[in-house]
């Protein structure tokens, strides 16, 4: 059903398998349906076990080095957990995944970086509580990450 | 000039019996609302007497999403039925909700809320200008 809709968009054929750099459209909801279900394991903001499990499921390894990718304009204290701005950039990457341990499941999004893509992206995410945001980039077949603790409190007075 | 003073005074008393405000000025909530001493029914009587005046003045208290009139209504039933627990029914964002309280505790709260609401009106008469930059508030 989803696939049919997807084709109707006229995006061309879906590439099966895990080609590292996709020239054609790739929907990870279909490619890797199980990774979206990986749970965070505890309430602790520094427990990254669920995140690491998801990283392994997406990239095939959880060997990740710090660096080469940067999280920026991502708050220390969120104005509101429903709208947390997250920005990240790296010089080049084939794939990037954004994860956190502030919600029941760990994975937020996966980007395939197209040929013309410049991996300097921003999104706004939901965080149900204080937690760590992790961004992982696949660069020349290796994984690099950046992480940041974002504090979330019940936001806003009155009404 | 006189008229101005009269209007100012009349405003705050217009819709409420000045008596209630004068009465509460002499009341010590720790006496009249102390359930240990006066018992829950007496405390409720005090709440029932003054809360309607607070409503008229637009100063009724509300806590945990529950208006004092809702505390009082639930207390009336609980005290009549001699129940140790009072179940308060109230509305929050259009939804019917309930919350349980110890009856004695709640009677004291409802009483204090009713009296304090009116006492604060009296106090504000004397204090409000002290908070106004340029009037009584030095900065």
């Amino acid at each position: 059903m989803q696939r049919r809709n997807f084709l109707r968009l006229g995006l061309g054929a879906v590439v099966l398998g895990l080609a590292p750099l996709s020239v054609m459209a790739k929907n990870y909801r279909e490619e890797l349906p199980e990774v979206w279900k990986i749970k965070n394991k505890s309430d602790k903001p520094d427990d990254l076990s669920g995140i690491n499990e998801a990283i392994k499921a997406i990239f095939g390894t959880d060997k990740v080095e710090e660096g080469k990718i940067e999280l920026y304009k991502t708050p220390d204290i969120a104005e509101n957990g429903a709208v947390v701005p997250v920005n990240f950039k790296t010089e080049k990457a084939s794939r990037i995944a954004l994860l956190q341990n502030a919600n029941p499941e760990a994975l937020v999004a996966i980007w395939d970086i197209p040929e013309l893509g410049i991996p300097d992206y921003g999104v706004r995410i939901k965080m149900a509580k204080t937690g760590t945001v992790v961004v992982v980039a696949e660069i020349d077949g290796k994984l690099y990450k950046a992480s940041k603790l974002v504090k979330v409190t019940a936001g806003g007075c009155g009404g | 000039m006189k008229k101005l003073i009269i209007t100012a005074t009349a405003l705050s008393f217009a819709f409420v019996s000045a008596n209630a405000l004068q009465e509460v000025a002499k009341i010590d909530v720790k006496d009249v609302c102390k359930v240990e001493k006066v018992g829950a029914p007496k405390a409720l009587e005090v709440a029932k007497k003054y809360n309607p005046e607070a409503i008229k003045l637009g100063v009724e208290f509300k806590r945990l999403g529950i208006k004092n009139r809702e505390y009082i209504k639930a207390l009336e039933e609980a005290i009549k039925a001699k129940k140790k627990e009072t179940v308060v029914k109230y509305k929050s964002k259009g939804k019917e909700k309930t919350k349980k309280f110890d009856t004695n505790f709640l009677a004291e709260r409802a009483c204090k809320f009713a009296v304090r609401a009116l006492q604060q009106v009296n106090e504000a008469e004397k204090t409000w200008r002290l908070a106004v930059p340029g009037d009584g508030f030095k900065y």
């Binding site: 409190t153 007075c157 009155g158 | 509300k62 604060q120 908070a131």
Partner: protein
Amino acid sequence: MKKKIIASMIIGSFALLSAGSFNAEAEKDRKALTEYFVKKFADRKNASQYFPYTPKEELDKNFKWGLKPEEFRLGSYAFNKGGRAQYEEIIEMPPYEDAIDEGKELYEKTKFKNGKSFKDCFPKPEIAGDYPKYVKGKGVETLTTAINSCLKENGEKPWKMTKGKMAKLEAYFAAASREAGKKVNIVIDSKEAADAYARGKKEYYSQRGYLKLSCASCHVQGAGQRVRNEYMSPLLGQTTHFPVYRLKWEGLGTLERRLKGCNKDQGENPHKPGSKWMNELAYFMAYMSNGLPVDGPDVRK
């Protein structure tokens, strides 16, 4: 004490009579309030006098000092750097833009059953800075109650005063006012209007609710202090940017919606939107921002 109050009222009314202008007290209040806030946020050096409970590190790192009066339209984002950065991120693509378009539709396309339209009540949309207004025989009208008066006078049902269509139409009025460079322009030109202002002022500074807080406790003396994770915004500039898209609401709301929330937080059964109490409170509040640019709609926590 009482003597002092009476004395100051007498002085106040003398000034009123001799100047022949009914806004003398309001003007004096506005100037003092502005001066107070400018002083309070002037620099780090005097900060501990105004913010005795705020950790030093926070004053060093998270506060912007040297604020000009116009900057207070940003509320707590005027001084709170961390919040300001997120605010700026969000208004890169503000979540209220659709509401402005929908509000414009409501203004231009709504036809009343009697054939008239909003344009008959409000010939121009750039009117957000002119409200609340004292209307002879009616009392204070906020933009919200004025819109409902328009509906009722034309045989239509009034709208909900806190959100939805009301907030959208106001978003359009505010955006049009901002685009036209309009400023807050609250008029007090009669004895009745001055009395309404005085009542609003008194309510603003009166402690109420089980928490015994006045509006001023948080938004004059308390402005800039933090309660849990909430920086309290200054009264100056507070009404300039409504309606507001609040992250907490995930939607747009009117000034009335916000005031109701504030009143509830004081521990009081909140006064109703459209009530005389709320209209007069808003009249006082808006006067304090007289001369500041209209800056709605905007985004807040």
